[in-house]
């Protein structure tokens, strides 16, 4: 160990160091890149067990499909639910399902954070040169969750062909905007829920009540719920912007809270706001973890 030490050690150029510009890449891009790399690994891992993947994907599809069967059964006894026809409820259901499915696919693994904190494997992510959020979100990426999205889109498709909608360019644009903004709102809930697990390791259940519970709520017309609950999911946890408010606009229906028409165009704004808040919560949570290491 002593030999060789005398030669200009400090002058040795560290060979692993990339040029300076390397570090100024925007974190968002770095995050997306890391996320892409990680989910590619998980997809390959899944494909190591093809049969198992096929079965779980089908199971995921079937389990969510039963949700809708329950609604169909309801409509075999009544013609209207809270004043809404079956295609109208299908529209709400499909939009909520697709948006939630998309969020579940991309950020659904956030609820594993508590486990990673507990068994110490979060530390192995912290020593990699990539944003931790991207690594946690991509953790155990499960392509089988496509089942839920597929089911949501099928039901939405059924609604669109049966409903008699007076289409305008704005209403057409509303469809993708609604699903993407909705997915972003749900994703924020996943991320905020993940951040909360830095403090309460078992908080995944609370988060699930907002995500899985929220999507079930949104599958039904707002008119069947108490006004206070509707107010809560509009102004507190703004899930109403996922599908209710934009869908009511598309279907030319009165908003139960009497919000003006332009509220239908708010989902992207709400989504951006939610993402910002969730990002902030994540930063605070990660900082707390790094100072307590609990």
């Amino acid at each position: 160990m002593a030999d060789g030490l005398s030669e200009g050690v400090s002058e040795r150029v560290p060979k692993g160091v990339p040029p300076e510009g390397e570090w100024s890449r925007p974190p968002l891009w770095e995050g997306l890149r890391a996320y892409g790399l990680i989910i590619a690994m998980w997809i390959r891992s899944t494909m190591a067990y093809r049969a198992s993947f096929a079965m779980t994907a089908f199971g995921n599809f079937a389990a969510t499909a039963f949700d809708f069967v329950a609604i169909l059964l309801m409509f075999s006894h009544v013609d209207r639910l809270g004043g809404y026809s079956l295609p109208e409820v299908a529209f709400l259901y499909g939009a909520a399902g697709a948006a939630f499915g998309l969020a579940d696919l991309t950020f659904g693994s956030m609820d594993r954070l508590g486990r990673r904190v507990r068994d110490g494997t979060l530390d192995t992510l912290l020593v990699r040169p990539a944003p931790v959020l991207a690594q946690v979100a991509g953790d155990r990426f499960a392509l089988r969750r496509l089942g839920r999205i597929t089911q949501g889109l099928l039901v939405l498709g059924y609604a669109l062909v049966t409903l008699d909608i007076a289409w305008t360019p704005l209403k057409v644009a509303m469809l993708p905007m609604m699903i993407l903004s909705g997915a972003a709102i749900f994703a924020s809930v996943f991320v905020a829920g993940g951040a909360f697990q830095f403090w309460a390791l078992d908080a995944a259940e609370v988060q699930n009540s907002f995500t899985y519970g929220g999507t079930t709520l949104l599958q039904y017309p707002p008119t069947v719920f108490a006004k206070d609950l509707v107010r809560g999911v509009t102004f507190v946890v703004p899930l109403a912007f996922v599908n209710w408010i934009p869908a009511l606009y598309v279907m030319d229906r009165e908003d139960p809270l009497g919000l003006p028409d332009w509220a239908a165009f708010l989902p992207p704004v709400v989504a951006v706001g939610c993402c910002a808040l969730a990002g902030l919560a994540w930063r605070v949570g990660l900082r707390a973890y790094r100072s307590t290491g609990s």
Binding site: G4, S6, P14, T121, D123, P129, R290
Partner: protein
């Protein structure tokens, strides 16, 4: 040791205080503070290989976590390669390699090579450098036949070698190893040690390792740091640790026949088993005069000198700092007799 006088890894008065909340009753929670690291300062030069040891809960892992940017120190100044780890975690990550002995970073269901490909892209290692480094690791760690095997099918020793390779593909300037030989069989341990020794000698990689297996330290590290209760209680050469711990070496002599215990000044017989006798003498003393006297006065067949077990040395050292613990000294006696 470093030519410019400043260390490659530098800690100055580093503290880490945890707020621990404990349930006390149904809703009430008691808060108290735990000083996991209590004012540690040291400096490691580039190319050094340092052993970082101490009892469980002494603060070893907490220190490593601060050095790798996982945890933020509560107080003090910390620099690794001129970078403040907690502030520039990802920048530092490109320049360090970390191996957690008990937590693999390899992909369980995928062939080993896939984990390396991910490292290649995530660290943006230039293709040529990646190929060279992979080739070298595969050769030295004997991974050739394992590259296409799913990680879940690897033995513990193979996986550890795989993990070490994964931590080195991006040419880290520092390598942290947390219990790198834990749970490995003798052959795997020897292989890992040999590799680390070569790595340090050839690539001048700075290595900091924590371990419970003190043979790791004996065979790898010229410098040892001992931490206890969050404080650095020893920092220096391995030999010095023996002096501080007043450790003893053991002379094992095989006589022609069974004889009463050998009587020599400066040594005492600790064990007799047929014609074989174990003599303890201070680690700092030379064995030569003892050997000469035995050879002259007794019918000597064969002999060997055993180095003291560091675990017992540390136990001795720590027990001298605190109240002497009879259980420990008993164990020490037993060990040195082995």
């Amino acid at each position: 040791m470093d030519s410019d006088g400043s260390g490659f890894i530098e800690l100055d008065g580093i503290e880490k205080v945890f707020d621990v909340r404990r349930k006390a009753g149904l809703l009430r929670r008691e808060r108290h503070q735990v000083r996991a690291v209590d004012g540690i300062s040291f400096s490691v030069a580039r190319g050094e290989m340092v052993g970082y040891i101490g009892p469980n809960g002494a603060g070893k892992s907490t220190t490593i976590k601060m050095l790798t940017g996982i945890l933020t120190p509560s107080a003090g100044r910390l620099r690794v390669a001129g970078i403040d780890p907690s502030r520039e975690r990802t920048r530092l990550a490109r320049r360090i390699g970390v191996v957690f002995g008990q937590r693999t970073t390899l992909w369980w269901d995928l062939p080993l090579i896939d984990s390396y490909r991910l490292v290649h892209r995530m660290y943006r290692i230039p293709d040529k450098r990646y190929r060279e480094n992979l080739e070298r690791c595969v050769e030295l760690l004997e991974l050739g036949e394992l590259l296409d095997v799913p990680v879940r099918q690897l033995s513990l020793g193979q996986r550890m070698r795989g993990d070490i390779a994964a931590a080195l593909l991006h040419d880290p300037e520092v390598l942290y190893l947390d219990e790198p030989t834990i749970g490995l069989d003798v052959i795997s341990k020897a292989r890992v040690r040999e590799f680390l020794r070569d790595l340090n000698a050839q690539s001048r990689t700075t290595v900091l390792l924590t371990t419970h297996d003190l043979t790791d330290i004996e065979q790898l590290c010229a410098r040892v740091m001992v931490i206890d209760h969050g404080r650095l209680v020893y920092d220096g050469a391995l030999a010095g640790l023996h002096e501080v711990g007043e450790s003893e070496r053991t002379l094992v002599v095989d006589l022609e026949r069974e004889l009463p215990p050998v009587e020599l000044p400066g040594a005492r017989v600790v064990k007799v088993e047929g014609p074989r006798q174990w003599l303890a003498f201070p680690a700092a003393a030379s064995a030569a005069p003892l050997v000469a006297r035995i050879a002259a006065e007794y019918p000597l067949m064969d002999l060997s000198v055993r180095e003291p077990d560091i675990e017992s040395v540390i136990a001795k050292m720590l027990s001298r700092r605190k109240v002497p613990d009879p259980a420990v000294s008993e164990e020490v006696a037993e060990r040195s007799a082995l």
